[in-house]
Amino acid sequence: MTEISTLEPWKDSAQRPYIEIKNVTKKFGDFSAIDNLSLNIYKNEFFSLLGPSGCGKTTLLRILAGFEKPTEGSILLDGEDISQVPPHLRPINMMFQSYALFPHMSVEKNIAFGLKQDKLPANEIKDRVDEMLELVQLTELAKRKPNQLSGGQSQRVALARSLAKRPKLLLLDEPLGALDKRLREQTQFELMNIQEKLGVTFVIVTHDQEEAMTVSSRIGLMDAGHLTQVATPTEIYEAPVNRDVADFIGDVNFLEGTFKGNDNIGTQLDSDDAKCIVYATQATDVDIGRKLWFAIRPEKLEISKKKPDFENNVLKGRIEDISYVGCMSTYHVKLDNGKVLKACRANRERSAEHHLTWEDEVYLHWLPHSAIVLQS
């Protein structure tokens, strides 16, 4: 039980959240950037706010940092209401999207800046700066000015500067947005290691779903000022609450239909898209005849030329398009009624052995427990 409470504190009602965002609304004129949002974040979490641009995730981060005041609601950090505390008095630091390094100061002066504001003794500042430089592996660049650094180096200086004061909470605004893909992936793991090593609570804002999936303990999915779902990456991917969430995270196929009832397999759906009755294991508790959707991830759709030995959940179609990305291929299969479903398959054999091609007649099949039943 203790195991669960340290790894997944949000499941343990006895745990006190570290940050409590209570009914926060932020209005700019008539526009509500954040609308009555409540969220608990726990100590040592790596929490991601994920959403399309304009969903209010950056505004929420700026409210946590103190650059914006909530129009309504309050924010508690470690039990203390900080809603009215100005940014320079909050034990929270932020890493900016543009890094915001001070151009007229060297790397070490940038990192020391926050410590100097706290009037720490000079030798302690020096120790802390050296420690931070080592943490981000920039010791030999200590004397450089920001304009002599590469993007990746600037990013690490910004991280070191924001961690130097050992904040209770570190906010990261699209911290890896400016880096190229390879560097970004590498830095994601560095960030996770640093977070683990220092035990600081991280809240990161990103629009990159892969990044959020990789680094987070939990993801808060935002849309139009609301949180649509707060859950672990696995839960968000495998059990999204609605079609928007399912669609935003990863690729997905939807089968629309009317609810026929539950039987020994699970939910029966009379689908117009499939032109037959399809099944999902998950039972559903709604009125018969109501509109429902099955969401099926492409990698969970089995594709084959031979008709599979299953009675249910088998659909026939024709390959219309193939997108080959090396490690796997995604097949766009057009069903007889025109509906296109995506199925992907890892390319375990080299392409010469590939036996699926355009215009092939294929069968699609999924196991009932692979389908997600969605009511909206």
Binding site: A65, G66, F67, P86, P87, H88, L89, R90, I92, N93, M94, F96, Q97, S98, A100, L101, F102, P103, H104, F113, G114, Q117, D118, N147, R161, S162, K165
Partner: protein, 260 residues
């Protein structure tokens, strides 16, 4: 880079010749031995020596430097604040009116500025002298500083200030430790600009000066009315040198700022 054609070269040379030959002639004849301005009588620096013994010119030069230094310093202070407000305080009430009034002296005829200031000083019965010239120069050079600072601030990343606040720095200290050092090149070039503007202003100074506050351009102008002498060439050469120095320093600092 495109190559210059013969036509381009010719027009370039002619254009620059038109602009700079008069100044070159002035400089050359300031080293003329002869008293006649248009006849070359050999090289000499005697007019510069003569200048040193001319109390009137020396007094005027001293007044000019005093006025230029004081007015450009105060104009820089006020202009920097105005530039900051216009670039960073968003669309506050009356912003258009405010910026219009800041920039008006740039397009207002100098005669009008001079005349209106004169009328005001008379109405307030302020004795005209060094102080009134200085005040007049502040009013017309402040807008140039505001323009320079505003254009620097419009490309200023606000998150730099936010980062400083976030790291525990108070708003005022943030301005002193972060914003000001970053925009310092713009502030300095604004100062140099208003210094040179004040140095060679004739019209406004004529309206607003009084006894004992004749500036160098006014002195030169009054001397020329009695005929051009090599002495005037010499003092003008010095003035050209000073202004050129200011402009070159200003653009050098501006360039350095762009690199950063």
């Amino acid at each position: 880079m495109t190559r210059l054609t013969l036509f381009n070269k010719t027009s370039l040379i002619l254009g620059f010749a038109f602009l700079y030959i008069p100044i070159i002639i002035l400089i050359v004849f300031s080293f003329n031995e002869s008293k006649l301005v248009t006849v070359w009588g050999g090289f000499s620096t005697k007019w510069y020596g003569e200048l040193m013994s001319n109390q009137g010119i020396k007094d005027a030069a001293w007044v000019t430097l005093k006025v230029a230094f004081t007015s450009s310093t105060i104009a820089t202070f006020l202009g920097t604040i105005a530039g900051l407000v216009m670039a960073k305080f968003g669309r506050f009430r009356g912003r258009t009116l405010f910026s219009g009034m800041i920039y008006a002296p740039m397009v207002m005829p100098e005669v009008i500025i001079g005349l209106s200031l004169l009328l005001m000083f008379v109405a307030l019965s302020i004795d005209r002298g060094v102080m009134t010239v200085t005040l007049a120069h502040i009013t017309f050079s402040m807008c140039y500083v505001a323009v320079v600072v505003q254009s620097r601030m419009s490309s200023y990343d606000d998150s730099i200030n936010e980062a400083a606040l976030d790291l525990g720095c108070t708003p005022f200290k943030t301005f002193i430790l972060i914003t000001l050092p970053i925009i310092m090149p713009a502030v300095i070039s604004g100062w140099l600009l208003s210094f040179t503007l004040s140095l060679d202003d004739l019209v406004i100074a004529s309206f607003t000066s009084g006894p004992g506050s004749t500036t160098l351009p006014m002195k030169i102008y009054s001397m020329v009315r009695l005929g051009v002498t090599p002495e005037i060439n010499a003092v003008s050469t010095i003035l050209v040198g000073l202004v050129a120095l200011g402009v070159v320093a200003g653009s050098f600092i501006g360039k350095k700022q762009k690199i950063n």
